[in-house]
Every structure is written in structure tokens, then in C-alpha cells.
Symmetry: D2
């Protein structure tokens, strides 16, 4: 699996009075996409947490090319572009239905951490299952 | 102190494409108002939590009479209308600047709880400081 | 159709530091559930808006019996319990998977309005398609 | 004025079950900070909108060095680092009280647009009032 396509429908309250999806929501949808990327690989993120493994964010970036709005069914294409000892970099492309170019692209970098938020090595079963792929943002 | 007036400015992302404040945000502002009500009485809610005292919500209600929108500076008038053994009922009136009638009214009921979310008695210093007052919603 | 079951997965950012879903989010999920209730009846709410028909909220109420948390897959059972000339009352029950009792119940009242937020009659095709049903909250 | 210091208190619902402020909220606070930056210069952003001038976002970036949590009173230092014909680049540093190093830094790029979201020249009175300053992120 080089990427996972997560679908999300824009909620009314996620729009603003400009009539479009509020910009911070893309980070929220990226996070749901990460959860589903892990699940598709066979990992449940909440079980990491039960083992004391956290995944705080170190960096986030978005580029906005076109708007979305209420009731749009978006696809968030998600890949892992890089893994270092502790850190993992996700890339995202957001598509509107039947649209060819992404309306938003972005990436986030996270650090696998223990419950004191100290970096730890990426858990082995995860590392070996992830197939690195860049979305060429 | 029979009530506390908390001021909050409506954020852009708190509006929706109807051009008005999204309805769920009033519950968010009520919560900030509770924090400031406690602080005005001399209690810091986060210190309750450090002592293992939580205040989950049991009930919430809002009545919406008129809209607010981006950049409005709202006043959330907050009182405690009732205390039982474990539970506390807050009442709220939301005013726009210079406006006489509330645009939104509401109440929330909370249960003082330990860290297992089991009800506990309302802490004595708080109980004796609160001056009960209904806002006649 | 007496009710519609909308499924929603709790997002990480929808939890708070008490470890549970933040209380205002239930109103957000209720709204997604209304959108899907309408769609299941054959109506797309965004098309109402294109016709200048809005559905602002007049009242909202929630009762919280048990918490939910990150990654829970919730079912929001949604019915229309009452329609008057302009107003419509939705009722909601929120269930956790395989759970028999609702963890949260609620209702919202909305007023069909024109673009100046003045009440209008409930559109006929909608009125005749809705099958009234109370969830006995 | 080379920068403006906007203060914001972290709300309970802005934390997540990791116990810290959810990462997308920094973008929300950046936006409030922009509003107050403009106001400090003598411009009310909602009046731009009344004149048909919008300011959609083209790019957003955050770097997270340390967490914040409920009830923290944050300072969002905000400057304009660059203006081109249509676009404006804001930079941000987020400080906790009495803390010397920023816990989060970021920037956003926006495009002055008409109501059809087509780029327009930055309004002259604004351009001449802004004093460019980089926060050296």
C-alpha cells in the first residue's frame, strides 16, 4: 500500500462565512486520514496509546489551491514519505469528487514518543509494514 | 457575586456559510465563561483537576433568538442557579454589545466527579463561595 | 423511514484532556445526522440553500449519560418528532457500537427561513415525505 | 508597529486526550491574531469584507516545539513579513507566559481577492500602513 484514500464529507460547521471550508479543518481531516492509513496497514492508533506510545506533531504544512464547501465529499490521499529513527512524515493530497488536480496538499511530521513526550524508535512492526511513497507535492 | 460577565470575540472560523456563528460554539463559549466564573470566585478549574476533581457535563440546553457573526464582541453572563450534593447548574445569557435582550440563553448541568467519573460532593470552599442566582431564562 | 442511523467516528481533536469527546461535538454530529436524514429521504440540504431556504436552529438540547472517546464509531439515530407550520423538531440518540442504551440523547428545533432569516412554510415535498416519529427520549 | 502581541487563553475543548492543545487550533489563533493586527493598524477586517475584499489563505505552516494546555494564556506575536502585488505573508511566534522561546512558530500566506476569489491589488491604505518585519522563524 503506497497510499490510502480517506473520504470525508464537509460538515456545515466546517465552513465559514466566506462560504468555504475553514482552513484549519484540513489539518483535522489529515489526522483522520492518518488514523485510517494506520488501520489499513493493520494498526489501530488508539492501541499505540494504550501501550504508552504517542505521536505528537512537530510540523504541519498546507497549500490551498481551490476551495471546498459544505457537503463536498473529499478524498484525502495519504502516504508516508519518510521515516527516520523516531520521526515520520506524512504527505496528503485532497481531491474533490471527479476532480483531477488536488485542491489542497500538505504534509505533517510526527515524532514517536513515550508518555513523557520523549522520542522513541518507531515501533518495528509498523516500520516494516510501511511502504514509503512520496506524493510529489 | 451573583453572576459573571465573560467577553468573547467571535472568530472567523466560528461562523458558517449562513454567515452567522455556528450553533455549537455557544457551548464552547459557555465553558470559557464557567472557567472565568470560577476564577472570579477565586478558584482555578485546572487546580481542581490536579486534585483529581473533574466536572463532566450531564445536560446542556440552548435557545437561539438572534444570530451573531464574525468579530462581534459577545458578553456571556453566567450564574450558578442551583447546587445539589454533587451537581451544579449554570445559567447563561449571551448579549451582543449595547443590545438589551439576550441573543442566546442556555444552561448546563455538571456533576463533580473523581477521576473515575464517579460523583463526589461539591468541594466545600466552592460551595460556600457560590451565591446562587437564576438569570430567569 | 421513521429514523435514520448515521455513523460517525470520533476524531482525535474531538476529545479533550478529560480523555472523552468534548460535549459541543454532539451538536456537530447531530447536524451531520440531519444532512444524512434528509439525503435518505431524497433531499439534499445544500439544494435547499440554493433555493434560498435556510434552516437556522432555534433550540438545542443534550443529555449526557456516558462518554465516548477517540476512534469510537458512534451511531446517531435521528428522527423528526414534530413539524409545525415553519418549525421542525429532530430527536437524536447516540449509541456506541454494540451498546444497547444511548450514551447521549438530544433534540434540536429549527425554523425554515428565507435568506433574510424570516420564517417560511416547510416546503411541501419535504413535509409529505417525512414520517413523524419520536425516539422517546 | 513591527508586530502585534495577541493574547489568547486555551479553552478546554481545544485540548485533546494527549492533554495538550490540538495542533489545528494554532491556525485558529493565528487568524484571531491577524484580525487584531489589522485592528491595531486601524483596519477592521469585517469592513474589508463589506467592501467585497476577501483574504483567503494560500499557504499555512506550523512548527511545534513544545505543548500548551488548558488555561494557558498564550501570546501570539504577529508580523507581516512580505507583501507582493496581491499577496501578504504573516509570521507568528507563540509564547507561553514568562517563557522566552516560542513554543510554536508559523506563517500564512493570503491573497487579497474580490468576492469571486480573484486576486486584487492590496488596498493602498493598508499597504502604506504595514511596516514589514520578519520574526526570523
Amino acid at each position: 500500500m503506497t497510499y490510502y484514500d480517506f473520504k470525508v464529507r464537509v460538515r456545515y460547521g466546517e465552513t465559514d462565512r466566506m462560504g468555504v471550508s475553514y482552513y484549519a479543518n484540513y489539518l483535522v481531516w489529515f489526522e483522520s486520514a492518518r488514523t485510517e492509513y494506520f488501520r489499513a496497514l493493520g494498526f489501530v492508533y488508539s492501541e499505540f496509546e494504550q501501550q504508552g506510545i504517542l505521536l505528537p506533531v512537530a510540523e504541519a504544512h498546507c497549500r490551498y489551491f481551490a476551495p471546498s464547501t459544505y457537503d463536498d465529499l473529499l478524498t484525502v490521499r495519504t502516504s508516508v514519505a519518510q521515516m527516520r529513527q523516531s520521526s515520520i512524515r506524512f504527505e496528503y493530497q485532497v481531491f474533490k469528487e471527479k476532480n483531477e488536480k488536488p485542491i489542497v496538499t500538505g504534509y505533517t511530521v510526527h515524532v514517536f514518543s513515550n508518555s513523557n513526550l520523549k522520542p522513541i524508535r518507531i515501533p518495528e512492526p509498523l516500520r516494516s509494514k510501511v511502504e514509503l511513497a512520496s506524493l510529489d507535492l
